[in-house]
């Protein structure tokens, strides 16, 4: 089951996102950033894209290499 879920996960996720984005339009706050239609979708996407980009950028700089002396 896990394998099947893994295979179809992207489409399931995208479908769920689309449904929630539409449903969310009817349950927005009256004022503030939470009232913006795509506030949470944009925030969620950025919360992943920015850290991953930072990791790819900084990893070569902050990696000392060698053995992982901390593990186990």
């Amino acid at each position: 089951m896990i394998e099947r879920l893994r295979k179809h996960a992207p489409w399931l996720l995208i479908g769920a996102c689309a449904v929630l984005a539409v449903v969310g339009l009817f349950f927005r706050a009256d004022s503030g950033p939470e009232s913006w239609p795509l506030f949470y979708p944009i925030l969620g996407s950025l919360a992943v894209i920015v850290p991953v980009a930072l990791v790819r950028l900084l990893a070569p700089v902050l990696r000392m290499g060698g053995e992982d002396k901390h593990a186990d």
Partner: protein
């Protein structure tokens, strides 16, 4: 000793018994003691309970219970019970006795009504924690325990200096709210900050916790840092500087949660993210924010203990917690995988878990405070980032992804006591998230905010699902996280492991060179030279020249005195 100290006394007595009886009985003693202490606490303590104790010239107040301190006492005893259950099969008196000592320190600290009592228990936490790390009995753990102790003692001495300064200027020894204008208050804030793991002083957490003994791994997350947060909330609630400190504290560890190979270190860094959120909430200081802090302390202990316990089981069964060697454990360890999944869900504040109630209350407190909207948005997005470090790194890499090549062919699930302990924590997480009103008792300020309405839940679900979808698309496009591999990552510890020794070495060499140069000059001045009539110091000096030098020195002193005045 006043009768109200009975819960702490029972824990200390339990620690003493566990230290001397055979290991099997020590494990049972450790299981029974938190229950006895909880019974004593329920019988003797309620908000407003106080007890005084005269020692020498001092009137101590070792118990001054309020709603917040009783929440913390309940949490520590529950954590002790879960950890004792987890360690029921472990035959090691040191681990059992240290656990009870550690919990006694935490319980005593949050009940303390005066600064001397608080300091004593604050130090006891450090001692108990050090022993829990040391009990792993490996060279790495011993070294980490020494570094852990150094930080605990530094925090303790800083606190003592702050207490003495505050008490000598105000004459008040009570453990009370202060503002930073009071002399010595900064030192106390720094001491709590060290305990809570503020940026640059957090290295000991990710260093020591992953190397601790199994019981230590399970319980260390519950007390030390939480007493730091409690201290900040009790004394410095509403200090605006903490909002900035907390935000940096929450963002700093994110990089390391995404790159560390050892999943224990990933979880330790993830804990720092949550602690940062709490510190920011303390900085706001409103009733909703402080209720959010209290609830989130409880939930963070529940889900982080579950994650550390699960990794302890993985270490026990597989022999490693390195991400590059794990994967596919869900086939062998379905129960542990389920517990981890619930803990990860609570970590990302999925609705129906206690994490949703606590984190959303805390974030609402920050939203309603005078905090820039960008800071609030960044703190809100931490849950989405949690899908990366908790969901992708711990759950996916540890349990769901295709297995690593070096795994044993047959792996058993958690032993029964360990599974029961994780089950206890997970049930608590689910109950607090599903039973209406159950978290009300965890609100010391009795605010009535609830995040359980459609707009909040749908908005949060949008954020989580879009973050997951964004990551899946990044992976498909070949821009996912780098593959996990063994490495050492530079963190703030670089400052005291590399920078400070280098600076000290350069300064030492400069001083030695300066001394040698001075000795050469003095030698030249005092030794009759070859072919010279006399050395400089052997010459006769005219009285007029001496008088001139004396006048110059006096003039310099006069100028200095005028500037100082």
């Amino acid at each position: 000793m006043p009768i109200e100290m009975a819960p702490v006394g029972i824990l200390l007595l339990g620690a003493l018994i566990a230290a001397v009886v055979p290991a099997r009985i020590a494990a049972l003693t450790t299981l029974i003691t938190p229950l006895a202490a909880a019974w004593a606490a329920l019988t003797l303590l309620k908000p407003g309970s106080t007890a005084t104790w005269s020692i020498m010239a001092y009137q101590l107040e070792p118990v001054r219970a309020d709603h917040f301190s009783l929440v913390m006492v309940g949490l520590f005893l529950f954590a002790a019970l879960a950890a004792a259950l987890y360690g029921l099969g472990i035959r090691d008196r040191l681990q059992h006795a240290s656990l009870l000592l550690y919990i006694a320190g935490g319980t005593g600290a949050v009940l303390a009504g005066d600064m001397i009592s608080f300091f004593v228990f604050f130090e006891l936490i450090g001692l108990g924690g050090t022993l829990l790390v040391l009990a792993a009995r490996t060279p790495e753990a011993s070294a980490a325990a020494v570094r852990y102790l150094v930080f605990q003692v530094t925090a303790g001495l800083t606190l003592l200096a702050g207490i003495l300064t505050v008490a000598s200027s105000s004459g008040d020894w009570s453990f009370r709210a202060m503002d930073l204008q009071e002399s010595g208050a900064w030192l106390m804030m720094l001491a709590f900050g060290i305990k809570a793991g503020i940026p640059l002083l957090h290295g000991w957490i990710v260093d020591a916790y992953p190397k601790a003994s199994l019981i230590g791994l399970a319980v260390l997350v519950a007390v030390t840092t939480k007493v730091g947060i409690y201290g900040l909330a009790h004394v410095f609630a509403g200090e605006g500087i903490l909002v900035g400190v907390g935000t940096v504290m929450a963002l700093w560890p994110l990089f390391y949660t995404l790159v560390e190979n050892d999943l224990k270190r990933v979880v330790a860094y993830a804990m720092l993210v949550q602690l940062g959120l709490m510190v920011a909430g303390v900085g706001v200081g409103s009733a909703i924010a402080l209720d959010g802090v209290a609830m989130h302390i409880v939930m963070d202990v529940l889900f982080k203990m579950t994650l550390f316990m699960a990794l302890g089981v993985v270490l026990l069964r597989v022999g490693t917690t390195r991400a590059d060697r794990l994967g596919g454990l869900w086939r062998h360890m379905p129960l542990t995988t389920t517990f981890v999944a619930v803990a990860v869900a609570a970590n990302v504040a999925l609705p129906l878990t206690g994490g949703f109630i606590s984190k959303k209350t805390l974030l609402a407190g920050i939203e309603y405070g005078e905090v820039p909207v960008v800071v609030w948005a960044v703190l809100v997005s931490l849950s989405a980032m949690g899908t990366l470090y908790a969901g992708v790194r711990v759950l996916w890499e540890g349990f769901l992804k295709p297995p690593g090549s070096r795994q044993p062919a047959s792996i058993d699930d958690a032993p029964a006591p360990m599974a029961a302990a994780m089950g206890l924590l997970v049930v608590a997480l689910l109950l607090t998230g599903t039973v209406p009103g159950l978290t009300d008792w965890l609100r010391p300020q009795a605010s009535d905010y609830t995040p359980l309405y459609a707009g909040k839940i749908i908005g949060h679900m949008q954020m989580l699902l879009f973050s997951l979808a964004a990551y899946v698309l990044l992976v498909r496009a070949g821009f996912g996280l780098p593959r996990s591999r063994p490495a050492t990552w530079l963190d703030a510890e670089w400052l005291y492991r590399r920078a400070l020794p280098t600076i000290a070495g350069v300064a030492r060499r400069a001083l030695i060179s300066l001394r040698n140069r001075a000795l050469q000059i003095i030698g030249r001045m005092s030794t009759p030279g070859h072919g010279r009539v006399s050395a400089t110091l052997e010459r006769s000096w005219p009285i007029g020249l001496m008088g001139l030098w004396a006048a110059a020195l006096l003039a310099a002193l006069l100028l200095f005195g005028i500037r100082s005045a």
